[in-house]
């Protein structure tokens, strides 16, 4: 159980985390979703006491993390798999961590076995592949048999086999009654693992709901309409109860069926150039939701952007079929 209340972190005049309040519950995988730079890592660092909050509090299992008798039994975290001394063997890396919490040395062998690194236990971690480093980081997180596990972007750079392994591990840990808190900037990743979602953008909480709710709320049917009289149509659609987002003569209408939009246009003599039903994917929903809160926008010309969106859509459809 992780509880944050009014958690805020300011770097100079930049608010990295802005008044976050949430609870991460045991027995499920909670996804922490947001674009790069949204404040996910900073939040996780504050939970661990690596960064001090500017204001607000966060507790783990009811206590500030640094007040725990045996911190590693409370929280196991993998924030950055590269945050290790490469000159030290996997065994000694884990041993020196275990010793700080008075954990028995034989536990080191046990977690090495668990993550499949027993054969390279005495090798210096400098030579480890990305996947092996990630496994070593997970071994460290599991050392204290903790009640809360935190993973920051755990699948970044992993091969499909490694991704599957981590997904199953997180599900198993949650099924075991533990609190599992995992961050990602990819909605598609969360679709496969998370039960609950915390979505943040620019340091602010945007959504706190189950994955099912998020899908229901955000993947509604939309209607795309192109018309030379878009402004007039927009008024009519809004009056009929639709939500409209317009850009350069194209309207995206939500909350109103396609037939109704077509009838409205016909009844009022508005010429239409296009009328299409659009199924927003979760990825699009997430992008839409966090659009205003993305920290760094790439300067992409409009035409290219449209094409890119189309490709993303196509890719999502293929995945759905598979």
């Amino acid at each position: 159980m992780i509880e944050a209340a009014g958690l805020t972190k300011r770097y100079g005049d930049k608010l990295a985390v802005d008044d976050l309040s949430f609870a991460v519950l045991p027995g499920q995988v909670t996804g922490f979703l947001g674009p790069n730079g949204a404040g996910k890592s900073t939040t996780m660092r504050m939970i661990l006491g690596l960064d001090a909050p500017t204001s607000g509090t966060v507790t783990v299992n009811g206590k500030p993390f640094d007040a725990a008798d045996h911190p590693m039994r409370e929280v196991g975290a993998l924030l950055d798999a590269k945050a290790i001394h490469g000159g030290r063997s996997a065994y000694h890396h884990l041993l020196c961590l275990a010793q700080t919490n008075d954990l028995p040395a034989r536990r080191v062998g046990e977690v090495l076995e668990l993550v499949g690194l027993s054969d390279v236990a005495r090798k210096r971690s400098k030579g480890f592949s990305l996947g092996m480093g990630q496994r070593l980081g997970i071994a460290a997180a599991l050392l204290g048999d903790p009640r809360v596990l935190m993973f920051d972007e755990p699948v970044n750079g992993l091969d499909p086999e490694g991704i599957l392994w981590i997904r199953n591990l997180m599900k198993a840990l949650a099924a075991d009654g533990r609190t599992v808190f995992v961050s990602s900037h990819l909605m598609s990743e969360m679709e496969h693992t998370a039960d609950h979602l915390l979505v943040i953008g620019r340091g602010r909480l945007i959504a706190d709901c189950t994955v099912a709710e998020f899908i229901e709320r955000n993947s509604e049917q939309q209607v795309k309409v192109r018309s030379p009289h878009a402004a007039k149509l927009a008024e009519l659609v809004t009056a009929a109860g639709g939500r409209v987002r317009s850009e350069e003569g194209t309207l995206h209408v939500a909350n109103l069926p396609l037939e109704r939009v077509g009838d409205l246009a016909f009844d009022n003599g508005i010429r239409l150039h296009e009328l299409t039903a659009v199924q927003a994917s979760l990825e699009e929903a997430f992008m839409e939701l966090t659009k205003d809160s993305v920290e760094y926008h790439a300067a992409v010309p409009a035409a290219q952007r449209a094409q890119a969106t189309a490709e993303v859509g196509a890719a999502t459809e293929q995945k759905a079929e598979a």
Binding site: L50, D80, A83, H92, Q99, T100, D102, A140, D145, N168
Partner: protein, 297 residues
């Protein structure tokens, strides 16, 4: 990937604290090769240069040198260079945590930072003291074998009745070596080890302040070496006030049986000087510890 429950993890007792942190820091320092190599380098440089210097000096002694000869300092001269190597270990022990990112993993395992800093400082102090004392005692004993029987250099011409008749004098042998039982000698040899250890602790503190290996080493060398070199260019009336406070001159009074520095300038006594030197290191370490606890890791 089915069993996650810890079969062999006994229920928690008490509270994790300093003893565990000490064991952890000992594991850390002994499990990286750089420790072995840098400790070895410190010993080779200190003992090697001490030996060379003692050997060279024992062959170049004249009568006029006898009054100022310090058999202890002359046997441990390599300390001047050894300190440049041991500061590297001091700096790396702490800054290595930052440059590798290990600090974030370490503090995620033990978030009570005072415990982590204290344990690391304690383990490193013990390692540095053992290294320093090994270097100073070994250098001392090797040096005494050279000073045991020194043939004084003769300056010809030596007047012997008739003017302008250089007569080579008979070689003069003197025993310049000393023993640990002689006054102040044991203190000075131990002092050599202490001086090396405190130099590296100064670098440890600087690394905590700067969190950067090269920066900490540069700062340590600047404090230990460059300040000393600068005093050589000071006008005398300034030097009279400044010299004794210079870290190298203050700290080095202890590792000899004679005063170090210009005869006409008053210097601290052995232990006062060493106290001043240790105070410098302590200030830096305390500052480093405060930042270590407060700063975002």
């Amino acid at each position: 990937m089915t069993t996650l429950t810890a079969v062999s993890l006994p229920p928690a007792k008490g509270r994790a604290g300093f003893p565990g942190a000490l064991r952890s820091e000992w594991t850390k320092i002994r499990s990286v090769r750089s420790t072995t190599w840098t400790l070895l380098a410190t010993a080779i440089v200190t003992i090697g240069i001490s030996t060379l210097f003692a050997w060279g000096q024992s062959g170049h002694m004249g009568r006029e040198d006898l009054a100022t000869f310090d058999p202890v300092r002359s046997s441990m001269f390599g300390i001047v260079f050894g300190q440049l190597v041991i500061v590297v270990i001091g700096a790396m022990t702490l800054s290595g945590e930052y440059t590798t990112g290990m600090i974030r993993t370490s503090l995620s395992a033990m978030p009570r930072r005072g415990v982590v800093f204290g344990a690391k400082l304690t383990v490193f102090t013990v390692v540095a003291l053992i290294t320093g004392l090994f270097c100073s005692f070994t250098s001392f004993f090797i040096g005494q074998t050279f000073f045991h029987d020194v043939t004084l250099r003769t300056f010809g011409p030596v007047k012997n009745g008739a003017a302008d008749q250089p007569v080579p004098s008979a070689p003069v042998h003197v025993h310049l070596s000393t023993t640990l039982g002689a006054p102040h000698v044991l203190q000075a040899v131990i002092g050599g080890g202490l001086y090396l250890a405190v130099s590296s602790l100064l670098a440890f503190g600087l690394a905590a302040l700067l969190r950067h290996t090269a920066g900490a080493i540069t700062a340590a060398i600047a404090l230990l070496f460059v300040t000393f070199i600068m005093t050589q260019f000071l006008p005398h009336d300034w030097a009279a006030h400044v010299d004794k406070w210079v870290p190298f001159l203050a700290g080095s009074q202890i590792w000899g049986v004679r005063k170090l520095g210009d005869d006409s300038i008053s210097m601290f006594s052995a232990w006062t000087g060493f106290g001043v030197f240790t105070a410098y290191a302590a200030i830096v370490i305390i500052g480093g510890a405060i930042l270590f606890r407060k700063r975002d890791a």
